[in-house]
């Protein structure tokens, strides 16, 4: 059971503030660090992994500071984003060397177990330079897991992976999280985070925009009105019947069709289909107007 605690952590480079007064606690289970590119996710991960000192604030991993403290790596595994591994070594050698550097008592067993865990056993004896991107990612996970760390940090782990590899990695992280480890991974893709983590921390422009359970945040998000643009074979009739539904809060007839405001995204989508069929209206176009990550974040920040 390991905890990462951040209190007022700030990091700036000259005039640019990369991370701005972030306070959060990360506990066991899978936590997703979500945010658009440039939000400061990597910077935060580098600070937590002890490769960047915070300009201000305190950052502790199990009570110990991460910076200038190589001993935390006994409990921490890092999978960096950069695609940089020792290309001249084979997969096995790479994981083995990491095991030796961690001074593990049984290097061979740990290596085999780690490679097995990422399902790289048949490719492990080839040189890393021959691996595909997904394979490199997996061997990096193996090396990060070889010493059985309580904390795992992954920087954009699903970058460049095909869907099958992504599922495999997600299952693996799921399993590790269920074992009680503290897993923190960063991503800018909502769906990845949604699938995987219970808790998310949303970072936008260096600030913590939201934290907590993903579904709760989604519900918070759904409490804002959604706007849809609808075109159909009979706009007026459709508009009138939509207005009778509780999920719809406003309908406007514009020259190009209907603009519908709905408070409940899911309910609206179901009901418009039902209504259209009931009144024999053909739907020509149904577009959510502001379902973008940026606007979601902007909304979260504004609230």
């Amino acid at each position: 059971m390991s905890t990462i605690e951040l209190t007022g952590v700030t990091r700036w480079y000259g005039n640019v503030v990369a991370v701005n007064d972030v306070t959060m606690t990360i506990g066991p289970g899978v936590t997703g660090l979500l945010g658009p590119n440039g939000a400061g996710k990597s910077t935060l991960l580098h600070m937590i992994s002890g490769f960047l000192p915070p300009s201000r604030g305190t950052l502790t991993v199990d009570g110990a500071q991460a910076w200038h403290n190589p001993d935390i790596y006994a409990r921490l595994g890092l999978i960096p984003e950069r695609d940089s591994v020792y290309a001249a070594l084979t997969g096995t050698e790479f994981v083995r060397s990491t095991a030796k550097l961690h001074k593990l008592p049984d290097v061979g067993a740990a290596t085999a177990r780690a490679i097995e865990m990422v399902e790289m056993a048949d490719a492990a004896d080839r040189r890393i330079s021959t691996y595909s991107k997904g394979m490199r990612q997996r061997i990096k996970v193996a090396a990060a897991m070889v010493h059985d760390p309580a904390i795992l940090l992954l920087d954009e782990p699903f970058n460049g992976m095909d869907p099958r590899q992504r599922l495999q990695m997600m299952d693996l992280l799921d399993k590790l999280g269920a074992e009680g480890r503290t897993i923190l991974f960063s991503s800018h893709i909502l769906e990845e985070v949604e699938r995987l983590s219970g808790t998310i921390q949303v970072i936008v422009a260096g600030r913590l925009a939201a934290s907590g359970d993903f579904r709760a945040i989604r519900r918070l998000m759904t409490s804002r009105p959604h706007v849809f643009a609808v075109r159909s074979s009979d706009d007026r009739l459709l508009g009138a019947s939509l207005l009778s539904r509780p999920a719809v809060t406003g309908v406007e007839l514009t020259g190009k069709g209907l603009q519908v405001r709905a408070s409940d995204y899911g309910a609206f989508c179901r009901e418009i289909a039902v209504l259209a069929r009931k009144h024999d209206i053909r739907l020509l176009e149904l577009l959510p107007s502001d379902e973008s990550l940026e606007s979601v974040f902007a909304y979260l920040l504004a609230s």
Partner: protein, 324 residues
């Protein structure tokens, strides 16, 4: 509406229709190959001198210019005092030129060619309407121009420093000397930048490119000097001359005259001596590079061979796009 904007890997907008945002193809006049080459040339020239980049990129070019100009300033002071000119236009200060150019070329040539190789932008360049050979040509011209500036500017400073304090009668001989020096400087720039770029284009890692260029220039330079010294030692033993490690022998052996072929810099200096008609005089900056005498054709051949080899390397290197 901002919602339509595509986000980098962001939420999926369920667009099933292509919007007409008024995007139009550009059908107007397009600039041609010449403009592309010119743009690449100008950009590379600026890169070589560190202009238009951060402050760190300017450090080395500035050091190089200052170092190269020092003799001009010292000479101006000496002439002012009435000591006479101590630095010639033709050779300037040979060891200084060698060192400064080695460092400049070794560090800046990779900035021009190795960076592009490393970041794999060559396909981007080659998908433009330019010929394959235009890229190395533009790079070469740019780097030659930059090296030329580095070599000629101090000569101009030397000239100005001399004529400012000189009596009026000395202006024409000085001008003649300057023009000779500028022409010789052009010869230097042409060869040195060709070799530097050719060697640097062999690898995408700047550090190694620097190492290769530096090793080539410096190693051959020192070797040439030493072979010269060894060739000058006859069975009777040499007579120690002024300065460290310099020897005056009554007659210069064939070995000594040919020793400079080993090094591009010494080759250039030999040719310089030959063009300038300078005879075997030891000045502080001359160094043991004698007038080639009847071996001058060998040096011309070497010059051409080095130039041709460098161009060949550059041409072959950029034949394929996506060179890594």
């Amino acid at each position: 509406m901002s919602a339509d904007s595509a986000l980098p890997g962001g939420a999926i907008s369920a667009r099933s229709v292509i919007h007409d945002r008024g995007y139009r193809r550009y059908d107007g006049p397009r600039l041609g190959r010449l403009q592309i080459v010119r743009a690449l040339l100008w950009h590379s020239f600026r890169s070589a001198l560190g202009i238009g980049r951060g402050a760190k990129a300017k450090i080395l070019p500035v050091i190089a210019f200052v170092a190269m100009s020092l003799p001009a300033l010292i000479n101006a002071v000496a002439v002012n005092k009435g000591n006479g000119q101590i630095v010639t236009y033709e050779s300037y200060l040979f060891p200084l030129r060698v060192i400064v150019l080695t460092v400049f070329v070794a560090v800046q040539a990779p900035e021009l060619v190795s960076r592009d190789l490393r970041s794999r932008v060559l396909p981007l360049y080659f998908s433009r309407p330019m010929r394959r050979g235009d890229y190395p040509l533009a790079k070469y011209l740019a780097f030659t121009a930059a090296s030329l500036l580095l070599i000629e500017l101090p000569l101009v400073l030397l000239y100005l420093g001399t004529i400012v304090s000189s009596k009026s009668g000395a202006i024409w001989p000085n001008t003649r000397g300057l023009l000779a020096g500028l022409a010789i400087g052009l010869m230097w720039a042409v060869l040195v930048s060709a070799i530097g770029l050719a060697l640097a284009s062999l690898t995408g890692r700047r550090a190694y490119a620097t190492g290769v260029v530096a090793i080539f220039f410096f190693l051959t330079f020192i070797l040439s000097q030493i072979i010269y010294q060894i060739a000058g030692r006859g069975p009777g033993g040499p007579v120690p001359g002024p300065g460290k490690g310099q020897f005056i022998t009554p007659a210069i052996s064939a070995g000594q005259r040919l020793a400079s072929l080993i090094s591009p810099f010494n080759t250039l200096q030999s040719l310089t001596k030959w063009f300038a008609g300078v005879h075997h005089i030891f000045q502080p900056g001359e160094g043991p590079v004698p007038d080639p005498g009847s071996y001058a054709p060998a040096y011309i051949v070497m010059f051409v061979a080095l130039l041709a080899a460098s161009f060949a390397i550059l041409a072959v290197r950029y034949r394929k796009a996506g060179v890594a």
